[in-house]
């Protein structure tokens, strides 16, 4: 017992700042009935952030509108040109074009796949919106690649430039895309060009990163042998550096393409243009699930198409590639000849010019009927599932046990005795942990107990501020504490507190589920090659799908609401958790496992004491990614009627209110960056 007492005292000493914050929080909570501003941050203490942004924005618009409109005009011209080629010419021409490009990159099988996918789009009846989307991607892509390459090379050559560029990339990728649609809208005016520019902005970062990586990874001996061969600086760049960095840069092109596509789809939300994203959205709004599912499938087809073709070009550059294609100076005439042939054939055969209406097959009605039938047949079960998750998971996290546990939901009322027992249990857990010298565990028990009892929206803001800052300080020192504390203060003074906590609530539930389910699936996949082989393509698909396609099936089955959003977020954010868990477990060195076995570990011990600790760094990276994916998807999920920051951005978009949208978007980005840096600090501490 003396050991227990000694360790308990030591734990209390270590945990002193935490106990102080928790004590203060208890005081605040005791007084919250008398002072409502303890939980709800008072409006009077906020600053007009949105208004300030609007004023700056007005200035910018006045200053740069002329230039912006000129740029927009130029882009429109390019876009119309590409569009004329894809839609204005007989369908046989673009099909022939893409098949040949696919063949050049990946050989006969890829060409056949491309042909089949394009024929599917034609047969689905969504050819024109799909080609509109493709045209936007094809115009955005070269711009993103050029800008990305330029910035990347600059970042590679100059450490100063890199210090500016890298944080900028973080911001570009963490600010929700909806948020910067608004200023683009104000600057460039309505129309497809907005989506185009937004997707250029969104798609640049992967290109920059891969360019930097590609150049950094050139072996020094390659550069030195070029120098010793007497290359001048331009020769060295063109003959040694560029070709050596090219494979990695093409990986960047692949990622950039997918990002551009997903942004073009998201940008459909501003409407006014007949692209495939709009087809999905308008169908979703009219509750035509069959139509939205079918047009969503077309997006999937486009995504697969772009992914496979660009990936093939990247793979072709790697050593050992089997398919080389034709040299460019022979490929170009072949392509031209084939296109002219296709055009002439279409003049002779009208079926090659306009896809025959009889060959369009749309099972939308059948899907609608089947969905209705399914919902009718299994309505009770699904309602039970939905209500179960909502009552026993979502509500407690959002409102806390004290408000969630009512007869309507749990069938019981929280009596004072039960409350006392709850807190006694939490206190006991903490004391036991302290006594075993695990003060961090003890504090965690108290924090989680408080979080669940009062709910994300019932915590005093001062508690959240202090706990976040303290955690950041202990994990990463003063700089991290400044970032984390600053983020919370920003959310408070910008008047976004309520929405932010709702976002945090939804995201934390989703991340919790992702870690649990994704971790289990990852463990299973690491143990079984069959499971791994089944999971991999599903993961690939979930990740390449433009995000809001994931909303469709959830929406079809469960209507609007937090539960639907939760499903969509989990579907999207679970992927990295599965991948990194499996990868981490599989990459534990065989010698360590042999050593464990030789020491007489059971399978269970082997897992807990060898495999899991060894793969923890990888798993933590997976969790980090999952959190960022979850926050990213949160904004998209606002489309199905969640509240929180996502909705704030969405509403601002509707009103073209740049200030409100950017203020909320910045809030979202700050939450994401804080979460990211905190987890990074944990990972560094483990490494």
């Amino acid at each position: 017992m003396t050991g227990f007492a000694r360790r308990f005292r030591a734990s209390c000493r270590s945990a002193r700042p935490w106990l102080a914050v928790l004590g203060l929080s208890a005081l605040l909570l005791a007084q919250r009935a008398a002072f409502p501003q303890i939980v709800g941050y008072p409006d009077a203490w906020t600053l007009p952030v949105a208004e300030a942004i609007n004023r700056v924005m007005d200035g910018l618009v006045a200053q740069f509108q002329g230039v912006a409109r000129a740029v927009s005009g130029g882009l429109n011209l390019a876009f119309s040109g590409v569009r004329a080629l894809l839609i204005g010419s007989p369908w046989a021409v673009p099909v022939c074009l893409f098949c040949l490009i696919a063949w050049q990159g990946g050989g006969r099988r890829l060409a056949l796949l491309t042909g089949a996918l394009l024929l599917y789009i034609l047969a689905s009846g969504y050819w024109e919106p799909a080609m509109n989307t493709l045209a936007l991607v094809l115009v955005a892509l070269p711009l993103s690649i050029l800008i990305g390459f330029g910035l990347g090379y600059l970042g590679f050559r100059s450490a100063h430039a890199r210090r500016v560029i890298l944080p900028m990339l973080d911001l570009m990728q963490t600010i929700p895309a909806f948020a910067y649609l608004i200023p683009i809208l104000l600057l460039f005016g309505f129309g497809p060009v907005v989506g185009l520019i937004a997707s250029v902005v969104f798609a640049v970062p992967p290109m920059v990163r891969n360019t930097i990586l590609g150049f950094e990874r050139i072996p020094p001996a390659v550069l030195e042998s070029a120098r010793m061969s007497g290359c001048s600086r331009p020769q060295q760049f063109a003959w040694a550096e560029l070709p050596s960095a090219l494979p990695q840069m093409l990986v960047g092109v692949n990622q950039t393409t997918m990002a551009a596509l997903s942004m073009v789809i998201i940008a459909a939300i501003i409407g006014g243009f007949e692209d495939i994203g709009w087809a999905v959205l308008s169908a979703m709004r009219k509750a035509q699930f069959g139509q939205s599912l079918l047009s969503g499938a077309v997006i999937v087809v486009l995504a697969i198409l772009l992914d496979r073709v660009t990936a093939a070009y990247a793979a072709r550059q790697l050593p050992g590639a089997s398919h080389a294609g034709l040299p460019l100076r022979r490929f170009a005439p072949v392509l031209a000849a084939a296109l002219i042939a296709a055009f002439l054939a279409a003049q002779a055969l009208p079926a090659l010019r306009d896809w025959p209406a009889g060959l369009i097959h749309s099972p939308a009605q059948a899907i609608n009927a089947a969905t209705t039938g399914f919902v009718l047949a299994h309505g009770e079960l699904m309602a039970a599932l939905k209500n179960g998750v909502q009552f026993f998971l979502l509500l407690p996290v959002k409102l806390g046990f004290e408000r969630a546990v009512v007869p309507f939901t749990w069938g019981i009322t929280l009596t004072p005795g039960m409350k006392a027992a709850y807190w006694a249990l939490a206190g006991l857990g903490c004391v036991l942990a302290f006594g075993r010298g695990r003060w961090k565990g003890g504090i965690a028990v108290l924090v989680v107990a408080g979080f669940l009892y009062f709910g994300a929206t019932g915590l005093p803001w001062a508690t959240v501020l202090l706990l976040t800052t303290l955690l950041a300080f202990q994990l990463g020192g003063i700089r991290l504490a400044l970032l984390a504390g600053g983020a919370v203060v920003y959310l408070l003074v910008a008047g976004l507190w309520q929405q932010a906590m709702i976002s945090v609530y939804l995201c934390s539930v989703a991340v919790f589920l992702c870690i649990l389910l994704g971790g289990l699936i990852g463990i299973w996949a690491a143990a079984s090659d069959t499971v791994s082989a089944i999971i991999r393509p599903i993961n690939d698909m979930l990740q390449t799908l433009p995000q809001f396609v994931l909303l469709i099936p959830a929406l079809m089955l469960f209507q609007v609401g937090d539960f639907t959003a939760l499903l969509a977020i989990v579907a999207y954010a679970i992927v990295p958790m599965i991948r990194y868990t499996e990868h981490g477990l599989r990459s534990v060195p065989a010698t360590l496992i042999d050593a464990g076995r030789a020491c007489g570990c059971s399978a269970w011990q082997l897992f807990w004491q060898v495999r899991l600790p060894q793969s923890l760094p990888q798993i933590l990276i997976g969790i980090n990614q999952t959190v960022l994916y979850g926050l990213g998807m949160l904004v998209i999920a606002a489309l199905v009627g969640t509240t929180g920051l996502g909705q704030a951005i969405y509403v601002a978009l509707g009103e073209a209110n740049a200030g409100a949208g950017l203020a909320a978007g910045l809030g979202m980005a700050l939450i994401a960056m804080t979460a990211d840096r905190l987890l990074q600090a944990v990972i560094r501490g483990r490494a």
Binding site: V222, S229, C231
Partner: protein
């Protein structure tokens, strides 16, 4: 050292110092300090010496091997001489031109025409095939395609890769890749041939094979060579002159036998401890004056290794003559003195 003609490559007082401001360290009073004081001065300024006051000459057609362990500064010297890294101060003369004052344009020209370099990690361009890799320096020179391919083909034949012209580096073994590296470095017919641990990344068997190949090439080509290695046996096998380095300074310069028989200090002696001396020393290295006792002795040429000479001692034979190519008796070997020279820590024949 012999000083028949002016050296082809002459390195004078070369320093390479790392730190925030190495140039300032070597300016001013540095010139007048003693060597020890200079080293201290650099250390006090929290800089790091990678090469300290290195001077040596390499004569035309000779193989000069710089030997040292990692961190000894051997690669630093080679990289400074080739100006892959700028040395802090010193002079490097190729014939009469000081390479260190050459303008960037002049340096490119020198590299294009006069230097070839082989790297430990090969440094082949992954996107080019064997032919294109070997022809690469010629492309930099601006030679038309047919001429550079003809020349590259010659080089590929020379290193024994005929038939692999269209292979890519990743399809070749390590030894083959280094053959490409060698062919490329020879493509411009350089006067100076630099090799930076060229065989260190290879398996022992391949390494021995490549060393033999290297000696065969040199017999044909007579390049002026600076060869860097951490392998003392490799140095003994290849070198005309060995330069042993430690902590950025030259410990000893000499012919292989000189180093083995008269190590400058304990550090050098430690290397020799591992060496099977009977394989390394030659009859001419350890012979004593001719002994004329009226009897006929078995004879060996002066370049025969001791191992072969020892076999000639028998029940009755106590003297082996060392006979030059013209038949003149240059000296003789006696068992006791041979045994002494093979004893690592023992006094050399002159002591």
């Amino acid at each position: 050292m012999t000083s028949r003609a002016a050296p082809k490559l002459s390195v004078r007082n070369l320093w390479k110092i790392y730190g925030p401001n190495p140039r300032r360290i070597v300016s001013g009073a540095f010139r007048d300090m003693t060597h020890e004081r200079r080293l201290e001065h650099v250390r006090e300024a929290r800089h790091f010496v990678a090469a300290a006051d290195v001077s040596f000459d390499v004569h035309e057609g000779r193989i000069f091997v710089i030997m040292g362990l990692s961190g000894s500064g051997k690669s630093t010297v080679l990289r400074a001489v080739s100006r892959l890294d700028e040395p802090t101060c010193g002079q490097v003369f190729l014939d009469d031109t000081d390479l260190l004052t050459a303008s960037p344009r002049a340096l490119i020209e020198i590299r294009r025409r006069k230097m070839g370099m082989v790297f430990q990690s090969f440094g082949l361009l992954p996107h080019l095939d064997v032919m294109q890799n070997v022809a690469f320096p010629l492309k930099a020179q601006g030679l038309p395609r047919d001429r550079r391919e003809a020349r590259a083909r010659e080089m590929i034949d020379l290193v024994g890769l005929k038939g692999r012209e269209r292979s890519y580096p990743h399809q070749l073994s390590g030894g083959q890749q280094q053959r490409v590296g060698i062919a490329r470095s020879l493509a411009v017919e350089p006067e100076l041939w630099f090799l930076d641990e060229p065989f260190s990344a290879l398996d022992p068997l391949i390494r021995a094979q490549m060393q033999d190949e290297f000696l065969r090439l040199q017999k044909q080509l007579h390049k002026t060579i600076v060869f860097v290695t951490h392998d003392f046996l490799e140095a003994l096998k290849l070198a005309d002159t060995i330069c042993i380095m430690k902590d950025g300074e030259i410990v000893q310069i000499g012919a292989p036998a000189e180093i083995v028989l008269r190590p400058a200090n304990a550090y050098v002696r430690e290397f020799i401890g591992d060496v099977p001396l009977a394989h390394v020393l030659r009859a001419g290295d350890v012979m004593s004056p001719p002994r004329n006792d009226g009897r006929a002795h078995p004879s060996v040429p002066p370049e025969a290794i001791l191992e072969d000479a020892i076999r000639l001692f028998g029940e009755t034979t106590e003297t082996v003559d060392v006979v030059g190519a013209d038949g003149a008796v240059l000296g003789s070997l006696q068992p006791l003195q041979v045994i002494r020279s093979l004893h690592h820590d023992g006094p050399g024949p002159d002591r």
